[in-house]
Amino acid sequence: MTIAGASLAPPVRAEWVRGGLIALLLAVLLALPLFLAARPFELRLLTVMFLYAAMGQAWNLLAGYAGQTSLGHGMFFGIGAYTSTMAAIGIGLNPWLGGLLGSAVAASVGVVIGLACFRLKGHYFVIATLVLAESLYLAFADWEWVGAAMGLDLPIEEPSLLAFQFHRDKRPYYYLALALVVAATALVVWLDRRKMGHVLRAIRDDEEATRSLGFSPMRYKLIAMALSAGMIAFCGTFYAQFVLFIDPPSVLSLQLSVMIALVAIVGGIGTASGPIVGAAVLVTISEYARIWFSGSGRNIDLMLYGLIIMAVSVYRPAGIVSLFGRRGGGRR
């Protein structure tokens, strides 16, 4: 945005350095699968990491920018996964279209929830989203038409990009997940630099003042909610196509909602790099801790995991990325 000869973008040189680093990282990530063909564990780890990073971005848009902390975003993931899967089973809808349909359904549900719950402040909004997500979990676990607690198997298709299914070689999932992160990050960065991003942060910092300047906080929060829910839902469809089986514990659990939030919080709330760093750290730790320390009777992996989250929240409340920034990460 350029007004009266002044630009809102950061200084040009820093932009170049950052652009170079991003290009380098992308090049490495694009080349990596060439070496991972025979390493399904690492390939899966990275794919899941990208998925969480994309979801962290989506959550961050609502919580980090607009200041509306949700602990129920897992419900949008579930809505996406169930919508595209039911549409595929019922009428044979292509999963790409199913994913868009799921996003639209989730965005609408998000708007309805927002209309009802955005009037709640602080902790009450958090509790409302948590309770709604749990209710949806219970409803789906009991609802025969959507497979209840037994879950749903996706219809198996010939592997192709159009069918959004790949069986022997899982590398296409990796690239699609990478595309999801890039798209989600680009959207957040774009919004952040436009007036929309400024208004969202203004609402977070001082809702009353923003209102008196002529902005309707409800309207902006609803837009953030719709975008956030829609993005998460598409990730849900990706997950369904990736695992080819969904049930309430895997796509609607509280644990999922918490993880989506943690990725952004641990990385750096309200920043575009935060969810990426958070996903890289948390997914890596949780997967390796599980291999090394879990097993019957000794769930040390979860303890270790909890310890790291506590350490970050005590020593770096603005998230890991605040280690590198000049301004504390939590505020930009």
């Binding site: 945005m1 007004i3 009266a4 002044a6 809102l8 007036k195 400024h198 208004v199 942060r201 203004a202 910092d205 001082d206 009353e208 003042a209 923003t210 209102r211 008196s212 300047l213 002529g214 902005f215 309707s216 906080p217 301004r327 505020r331 930009r332």
Partner: protein, 243 residues
């Protein structure tokens, strides 16, 4: 000609009434001041005019619009701008970003350029500080920035809640000069100020509040000359019968 005409305003927080039957007017081109001891309801009255506080009674007419039916975010585009108490800038945004937000959701380009030119000529310092984060400026600069942000929507009536609080005499003089210049350009000003003498030297007319009611309304000169003010601030016994 009346720009603002509010009648019988009442405000309550739950069961606790804080403003009773307040009526206030401002003519086009006037500087009007709200005076009164702490907690007398000045900010509440101002917040109720910009609709940030809910009314339990009364009506507000502003430039042909009935404000009492409108939500707060619809007010500024009608030409009423409210600079809140303690400036309330967005601390982690630059001066420029703060000012841009002041222009509201859909400013057109020409108007925006005009508004920027006006606030920068009024407060040249802000132009120098354009890229600086709001919270890193001095208190006086932040207050200037808040007034400038309030001007970005090109209001007909500018309401400022305690513009001089915490400012050095030098900055006070600067801010007062800017407000006077705005007034000469035709902007009507409603302000809250604690320093009675200074406020009355500055304003054309004043309303005096006490314990949630308007107890006096008079031209500034009259208030300066008489002793009615002392009784309001120092609360002589016989004065209680007024309420």
């Amino acid at each position: 000609m009346k720009l603002l005409e509010a009648r019988g305003l009442g405000v309550a927080y739950g069961d606790f009434q804080v403003l009773w039957d307040a009526s206030i007017e401002a003519d086009k081109g006037e500087i009007v001041c709200l005076l009164g001891p702490n907690g007398s309801g000045k900010s509440t009255l101002m917040n109720s005019l910009s609709r940030l506080t809910r009314l339990t009674a009364g009506e507000i007419l502003f430039d042909g619009h009935a404000l009492h039916d409108l939500p707060p975010h619809r007010i500024s585009s009608l030409g009423l701008s409210h600079v809140l108490e303690r400036h309330r800038l967005f601390p982690y945004m630059t001066v420029l970003e703060n000012l841009l937000l002041g222009a509201g959701p859909r400013p057109d380009r020409a108007r925006l350029a005009r508004a920027f030119e006006r606030v920068y000529s009024l407060f040249p310092r802000l132009k120098e500080r354009e890229k600086q984060l709001a919270h890193s400026m001095s208190g006086g600069e932040q207050q200037m920035c808040a007034i400038a942000r309030g001007l970005m929507s090109e209001p007909k009536l500018l309401m400022v809640d305690e513009p001089f609080i915490g400012l050095s005499p030098q900055l006070r003089h600067e801010v007062a000069g800017a407000l006077r210049r705005l007034n000469e350009e035709g902007v009507t000003i409603l302000l809250i100020e604690q320093n009675v003498r200074e406020a009355l030297a500055f304003a054309h007319r004043a309303y005096v509040l006490r314990a949630g009611r308007i107890v006096l309304a008079a031209p500034a000169g009259e208030l300066l000359a008489g002793d009615a003010l002392e009784s309001v601030f120092f609360g002589r016994r016989d004065d209680e019968r007024l309420h």
